[in-house]
């Protein structure tokens, strides 16, 4: 019993120290030649334009929510598709119900005009 926990403890210890060791090692072996150009902030190879602290539109949030519909659907569809041969008719009906319910969510979003960018 205690032995099994010792293994977990050891594993946790290694997991916690490993990033520090890597970072420390990299710091020791890498060359360090900073210049102003290197230290400047950039975005896609260009200097940034405007302030970083802009407010995002709340509408992105709705898009993200609608995205979840497809996201979750795919997460469940893949294992279902892989094991389809073994699962048979029951799983097919179940998946049809599941997709049907998710489709309602999409239809709802569509009719309520959430997909239209305002």
């Amino acid at each position: 019993m205690l032995n099994t926990y010792a293994v977990i403890g050891l594993y946790a210890l290694v997991a916690l120290t490993f990033p520090f060791i890597v970072l420390l090692f990299a710091r020791l072996v890498r060359p360090s030649k900073p210049n102003p150009l290197k230290n400047s902030t950039y975005e896609c190879g260009m200097e940034t334009i405007g302030d970083t602290w802009v407010q995002f539109r709340a509408q992105y949030y709705l898009f993200a929510l609608v995205f979840v519909v497809f996201d979750v659907e795919v997460v469940f569809l893949y294992p279902w598709a892989v094991a389809y041969g073994k699962l048979g008719l029951f799983a097919l009906v179940e998946m049809a119900l599941f997709i049907g319910l998710l489709a309602v969510a999409l239809v709802y979003a569509w009719r309520k005009g959430i997909l239209e960018w305002q």
């Binding site: 008719l89 029951f90 319910l101 309602v104 709802y108 009719r111 309520k112």
Partner: protein, 490 residues
């Protein structure tokens, strides 16, 4: 696999799900004029169908798909929930129409909440218990904060959400301890493995925290002191029809789940959870009543009174026994009686509050002054509900109190009985304060106001319910005793 799944047993749930979907489509495609009556109409039709489906199967005793019990206990709570939500919908037709444009969502959410209740009260597996309770909670948060432009509604939802999230996490921790103790999430299997002996002999020190932590989640739903702090704010800030739902159906679900988990999974830990519930019962009724005494808003006063009543319901669970021959007064039947009596009574009181809010703008005690002259029907209805809350025969509240006091006295928990008795008297004090305000304080300059039609129907139904439970006590007792019997292994 399909042959082990008896779909008929899930008919009430399926009906509710389909109704919720239909409501969404009605909201999307019907014109607003049509939707105004079609939305509540479809919702009520679905609930009535679900009620019939559950009523026809009351008396069954089986487990569907290994996770949902189709037994009388579950069906009993489903019947109470379906009826109460119909009343909530009737009471909310005008109230919500004047306060929000998102009517389709409101009714769909109410139906989904009811579906979650159905799942939670029949769950026989810790995972399904959690699924039901969590779905109910999340939908309740949304319903509480439904009035987007109302600051108090938003505040109530945030408080409810924060408390609920923490309570859920604590409850899950308790579940994980139970799973760690027994290696299963099935309630009946947990009981078998706990009784097998060596588990408790070696790890009894884990059992106590497991019971307490799991109880926190249920106590939160049932708003027991000290897990009640969310309740007054949520009840007061939420749209009043939602308060009707939270204070009756949601609370009953807490008790149903608590009873099932403790009685099926932990009969061998009885001394632990009974001691815990004994303390919680005394604390809940006393604290709830004492704070209710000083409220100036009738809505908030009823919120605290609702907390106090949770203590009374708990008495039944504290005194639960399995008397030979399946006689009444086994404690659990008291919980069931109380739940149905309380559903009509408290939903009724909150419905009157909603009607007064509609007529005068606010539900302060001051606005109830001289109600008899301005809205006689409301005043009379409120009088009946308050008397029932106080436990005056022949109303529902009396039957309920009888069925929770009797087992407590029979089990010789005299201290609890005395505390409860004193509390019942204290509660009558603040109920009568409202009565005095309605009937004996005259305010000539205030105008009379009318009551919406749906609300009037709801109030009539609840008045009939309050008298019905009180007068046909025998029939309700029969239902309760039979519903409780399966759970107690009789």
């Amino acid at each position: 696999m399909l042959n082990t799944l008896n779909v008929v047993r899930l008919l009430p749930e399926l009906i509710l799900l389909v109704t919720a979907l239909v409501v969404i489509f009605v909201d999307l495609y019907a014109r607003r004029r049509t939707a105004l009556w079609l939305l509540p109409g479809v919702s009520i039709a679905g609930l009535v169908l679900a009620f019939v489906a559950a009523f026809a199967q009351w008396g069954a005793q089986e487990v569907v798909a290994g996770t949902l019990a189709a037994d009388s206990f579950a069906f009993y709570f489903k019947l109470v929930a379906a009826v109460t939500v119909v009343l909530v919908i009737l009471a909310s037709v005008r109230y919500m129409r004047e306060r929000t444009r998102f009517l389709g969502e409101f009714y769909a959410f109410l139906l989904v909440a009811t579906l979650a209740v159905f799942v939670a009260v029949s769950a026989t597996d810790l995972i399904t218990v959690y699924l039901g309770l969590e779905t109910l909670s999340i939908v309740s948060y949304v319903l509480t904060g439904f009035l987007r432009d109302d600051k108090r509604s938003n505040e109530a939802a945030i408080k409810y959400f924060l408390y609920g999230a923490v309570a859920s996490a604590i409850m899950l921790y308790g579940f994980s301890l139970l799973y760690g103790l027994t290696g299963t999430t099935d309630l009946a299997e947990i009981a078998r493995r706990l009784q097998a002996g060596d588990v408790l002999a070696n790890l009894e020190w884990v059992a106590w925290p497991a019971v307490i932590l799991a109880a926190v989640g249920f106590a939160f739903k049932a708003s027991l002191v000290p897990f009640h702090q969310w309740a007054p704010d949520a009840y007061e800030g939420a749209p009043t029809p939602v308060t009707m739902f939270l204070s009756t159906v949601s609370k009953a679900t807490g008790f149903a789940v608590m009873a099932r988990v403790f009685l099926t999974a932990m009969p061998s830990l009885g001394e632990y959870w009974m001691a815990l519930l004994y303390g919680l019962a005394i604390l809940t009724m006393t604290v709830g009543n004492l704070i209710a005494l000083r409220q100036t808003s009738v809505k908030r006063m009823l919120a605290y009174s609702s907390i106090a009543h949770a203590g009374f319901i708990l008495m039944g669970l504290v005194a639960v026994t399995a008397p030979a021959g399946g006689h009444p007064f086994n404690g659990l039947d008291g919980v069931l009686m109380y739940v149905v009596a309380y559903a009509f009574t408290n939903a009724g009181a909150f419905a009157v509050v909603a009607a007064v809010e509609d007529g005068t703008g606010d539900a302060t005690l001051d606005n109830f002054a001289g109600l008899i002259a301005r809205a006689p029907f409301l005043a009379a209805a409120m009088l009946i509900f308050l008397l029932s809350l106080a436990g005056v025969p022949p109303l529902a509240g009396f039957a309920a109190k009888l069925f929770v006091f009797a087992p407590v006295v029979r089990q010789e928990y005299y201290a609890l009985a005395v505390v409860a008795l004193v509390n019942a008297v204290v509660a009558a004090g603040y109920y009568l304060k409202v009565v005095k305000q309605m009937f004996f304080v005259e305010v000539p300059e205030r105008p009379a106001f009318a009551v919406a039609r749906g609300m009037r129907w709801a109030l009539w139904l609840m008045i009939i319910g309050v008298f019905g439970v009180g007068i046909f006590m025998n029939w309700f007792a029969f239902m309760s005793v039979r519903s409780a019997a399966g759970m107690l292994g009789l």
